[in-house]
């Protein structure tokens, strides 16, 4: 690390707690952010000489709170606070004060901070942008880059989101158990959204967007440290870790998608897999299943298979069955059909997805999967039609390239000559 990189790292890691506490004092996002920025400026000035305080977050909260104290006075009566000068840069005197002020609050502070970002009034894209800006502290420029939009457009998106949050009046009292668990569920969903923004990127944008996956993992670990006994949060963290572990093997050099069974498993990140497996193991002990745990368990079965042939498809099919009950959706059924094709053959799988045709008539993966089943059954003409449709519906060039590879294989293996693949983009 360079000379000041440790300060950036310390500030980044203290940020959620500090901004969360400042938001509780000021009850206003902009004021909290401004106070935090002021505290950071002071940290940049004094930490290089004095070294870091033992508890960076408490230090930032105290300094930030003093910096914005006028703001506070306008809102409510405060107990007297030590003067800025009295706050030592050398020892941890402020730690005790901050502890008295914050004590058990910090958990709910961070949860609230995350929660206001996923207010139901905000569209998903605004939720994610706001969380990355406010909680993770990414710059507008960084977020704009990850979302492939201009900085001005992102700035506007975040400003709009903040305005809506201000109108929405999120309660600042300590939440009750039921409310806390609702907040946790919304926050978990938002973290998953952030992850998917990065995960669904492909080809030339995959590298630009993969920091979103890393940020989502960081947030899920943070949430798990705050709520240590929530099996669904363990499941969420496990799911993200296990999926991200495969990042290096998911695309070929041309940016085309490489399916799970064709991936070079030696490229999978073993440290992330170990952590994901440990978390899902821990979660299952609670015997309180949920969608994240089930999806993580499916991912874990893939991660445990040294070779594609060793994959426990029977178990995976059962888990998709469980997921279908928890979260009925044609997409889940479609995923389950892939496991069914491995266990009971392509015909059974095809029968299973026929009823989904109308609901998934514009879904790329439906036609990709259908084409693959038809191809396995030797119904090449029909497979060809399905693949053509898939290419027409592809969201990214990587998806289209992947289907074209199927078409090439189909034409190569085909006994009956099939008409040439349409050069649809």
């Amino acid at each position: 690390m360079t000379d000041t990189a440790w300060i950036d790292a310390a500030l980044a890691s203290a940020r959620p707690q500090a901004v969360g506490a400042l938001l509780r004092y000021f009850r206003n996002l902009d004021a909290a952010e401004e106070a935090y920025q002021n505290a950071c400026l002071r940290a940049l000035k004094t930490w290089p000489q004095n070294g870091p305080p033992r508890d960076a977050a408490s230090w930032l909260i105290m300094v930030g709170r003093n910096a914005g104290i006028d703001e506070v006075r306008r809102h409510r009566k405060q107990e007297a606070l030590p003067e800025d000068e009295a706050i030592s840069d050398l020892d941890d005197a402020e730690e005790k004060i901050a502890e008295r002020l914050d004590g058990s609050h910090y958990r709910d502070d961070i949860l609230r901070l995350l929660f206001i970002c996923c207010h139901p009034d905000l569209p998903a894209t605004q939720q994610i942008a706001l969380a990355l800006r406010i909680v993770s502290g990414l710059s507008v420029k960084q977020i704009a880059r990850a979302f492939l939009v201009s900085e001005a457009a992102m700035e506007q998106r975040i400003t709009r989101a903040k305005a809506r949050v201000a109108e929405a009046k999120v309660p600042f009292e300590t939440p009750g158990a039921a409310e806390r668990s609702e907040r946790l569920a919304s926050v978990a969903a938002m973290i998953y959204l952030i992850f998917n923004e990065g995960y669904s990127a492909s080809g030339d944008t995959a590298e630009i967007r993969s920091p979103l996956c890393e940020e989502a993992i960081r947030l899920s670990r943070l949430l798990l440290r705050l709520f240590q006994s929530e099996p669904e949060i363990m499941g969420l963290a496990a799911l993200l870790l296990l999926q991200h572990a495969r990042a290096a093997s998911r695309f070929d050099s041309d940016g085309a998608v490489i399916l799970l069974e064709d991936q070079d498993r030696s490229l999978w990140n073993k440290a992330l897999i170990a952590e994901g497996l440990a978390l899902i193991d821990k979660a299952m002990r609670h015997r309180r299943s949920g969608p994240y745990q089930v999806q993580a368990a499916i991912s874990a079965l893939h991660a445990r298979a040294g070779k594609p042939g060793e994959t426990d498809w029977t178990q995976i099919e059962l888990l998709y069955g469980a997921l279908e009950v928890m979260q009925p959706s044609p997409v889940v059924t479609l995923n389950r059909s892939v496991a069914v094709s491995k266990v009971r053959g392509a015909q059974a799988a095809l029968d299973m997805i026929e009823p989904l045709a109308s609901r998934l008539s514009n879904y790329f993966h439906y036609f990709g999967v259908r084409g693959a089943f038809l191809m396995q059954l030797g119904r090449n003409e029909e497979a060809h039609t399905a693949f053509d449709r898939a290419i027409a519906l592809a969201n990214t060039s990587a998806e289209a390239a992947h289907i074209r590879m199927h078409l090439d294989r189909l034409m190569r293996d085909s006994q009956v000559p099939v008409k040439a693949a349409k050069a649809t983009q």
Binding site: M1, A9, A10, A12, S13, R218, R221, L222, L224, R225, Q228, S229, M234, A237, A271, A274, E275, A278, L279, D281, K282, R285
Partner: protein
């Protein structure tokens, strides 16, 4: 005399290191370790998974399983084991057996990410 050197750091900070920086630190540490290993002075070296993967067993009667790392300050670290287990349940069973033999206090059960078994010439 054998000495155990226990590693403490801000987990959030270490967790936010880039892959490159992490590898750089590991390479530097490996140099120190190899030097010790050549002299036959290096015992087991382990890098533990994050505390989020930890479970704690309070050695009460009956023993109490808690999610998360050991967080009390009134007890001190007195020793450690490394055992090979299929899963967390099996590790908890081992910890419970140990706890029955020596009640009181707690065990934190933490998966090991990387282990170099080392070798000490005695």
């Amino acid at each position: 005399m054998l000495y155990a050197i226990l590693c403490y750091h801000d987990e959030d900070l270490v967790g936010s290191w880039s892959k490159e920086h992490d590898a750089e630190v590991m390479t530097k540490l490996a140099v120190v370790q190899e030097n010790l290993a050549k002299q036959g002075r290096l015992g087991p070296v382990a890098r533990l998974l994050p505390t989020t993967a930890a479970t704690t067993l309070r050695k009460d009667d009956p023993p109490l399983v808690l999610d998360g790392p050991f967080a009390e300050t009134k007890e001190q670290l007195l020793g450690f084991y490394i055992v090979d287990c299929k899963n967390l349940d099996e590790a908890l069973d081992v910890a419970k057996d140990l706890g029955a033999a020596n009640p009181g206090g707690a065990y934190e059960i933490r998966p090991v990410g990387v282990l170099n078994p080392g070798s000490i010439e005695t």
